[in-house]
Symmetry: C2
Subunit: 265 residues, 2 copies
Amino acid sequence: MNLVSNPATGHTARLAPLVGACLGSMQRPASTRTPLDIADTMKLLGNCLAPQRRVVRAGAVLYAAGERFRTLYVLNTGLMKIVSTASDGREQVVGIKFRGDWLGFDGIAEGVYACDAVAVDTGEVWGLVYDEVLAACAESPALLGLLHAAMSRQIGRDRESLMSVCTLPADARVAEFLRQWAESLERSGLRFDQITLPLTRAEIGNFLGMTLETVSRALSKLAREGVIDFAGRGRRDICIGDTGALAAFVQRCLAPVRTSACLLQ
Amino acid sequence: MNLVSNPATGHTARLAPLVGACLGSMQRPASTRTPLDIADTMKLLGNCLAPQRRVVRAGAVLYAAGERFRTLYVLNTGLMKIVSTASDGREQVVGIKFRGDWLGFDGIAEGVYACDAVAVDTGEVWGLVYDEVLAACAESPALLGLLHAAMSRQIGRDRESLMSVCTLPADARVAEFLRQWAESLERSGLRFDQITLPLTRAEIGNFLGMTLETVSRALSKLAREGVIDFAGRGRRDICIGDTGALAAFVQRCLAPVRTSACLLQ
DNA sequence: CGCCACTTTGAATTAGCTCAAATTCCGTGG
DNA sequence: CCACGGAATTTGAGCTAATTCAAAGTGGCG
């Protein structure tokens, strides 16, 4: 019997028409769909899936590695970090999540979360029970498209991280990190010329594969060169006049490096 | 109208019952499903989805960044690398694919592949048109579970890469690389005590974020310490007596390093 | 106010990189 | 079959970017 598309509960039957209505404009193959912006996506999810809203205070653990996987989350406000811990205790920030990002995909394969999701800032997440999402997707290919796009984007994002860590010198990595932060804020519809880093230098360094001292020095250098400015008293508020300047800084760091051989072929 | 679950073509209708039959044993929620081994998974996919089999010769490009996304691939035999190219030309090997691995997920979000997939070794891939996969999934939640598990596993795998690059010194990174290679072979059901690296030192180094010289030195050191042995005259065949020895080597490299502060909280 | 966690900056150290040379391997053609 | 050439690999020697260690500065909060 087909568990999901013919659910025993009436839950799905109640939701599905709504989903269809909400996502009506997306009834095209995923490959030709124009991307929704995040505000719209959140609105659709909110209307269609009756998510369980949950406030997470700074420092709170949304889920921890090893916990049984049941629900996916979408971040509505705030900021979260994804921390992976190796069996020998090495800890690594493997992702930073902004408004509109999904959390928990890593749990699907094994039925158990593989990482910890920790709130860096107080915010609100929407919990979506995975089985219910699947049920709703069975009725609405558009919702399925949304889900797959989110997973796909995460895969792409993770690869960008690896690329940064592997190919950029420390200073450029920090600049690129800020650039992508600003980009994420822009996607979220928030102002991105002035950003507040709720992460410590140690956390940033861990994420970028360098020490906190190196992060500090890199930020100082960026400020010295006028690419960024420190706003406010604490040095956690950063003004980015122009994201182009950050990109230019990255290229400047890269210039003297030998161009790696062509890996294609 | 519901494009996928009520397809206009008869194609899906023809496939769907087959899928249901093939995957009958998996009609449980993903979170409680016992994982299939790769041979079984391949057999199921082969029986259920009528994939387009395609031989790729060493060096061939399966798909390239920028090409329109239409099909996902599953690697049946051989070995492929996923190469990401930044806008400034930096190239990065962001993944290595073994038997049973899926390729192309990165294309779903934007409808365009984000990376190049290049055959490192002659092999065979199975092409699955994404829209047809979706159609089949609409009829078979089990197949959807397979798809999501593959994506989820890729996300987990990518994070492991980032963890290695960020937290391990070069020697340990090479050891860990070999360990995971052996693990992948084991998963594929192939012998893994003796592995042949069809990648050049430069490719390995690129993937691991170090120079080819460093890879070479690390391999020499591993051989000197008896953790691996070079078989054959070309130094591309490597005997791994015991994957535990590789893990131990990693820990030995790690020992003198200060333990990073607890990032949780 | 005074503590504590975070940050900055400096100075010394080192892991990994760059550059260079020698060696091996393999395919090709005589 | 052997000689040759090109590509990949190994190994050595210096150099440099980033780390480690240390100390001083800053801000937030009870």
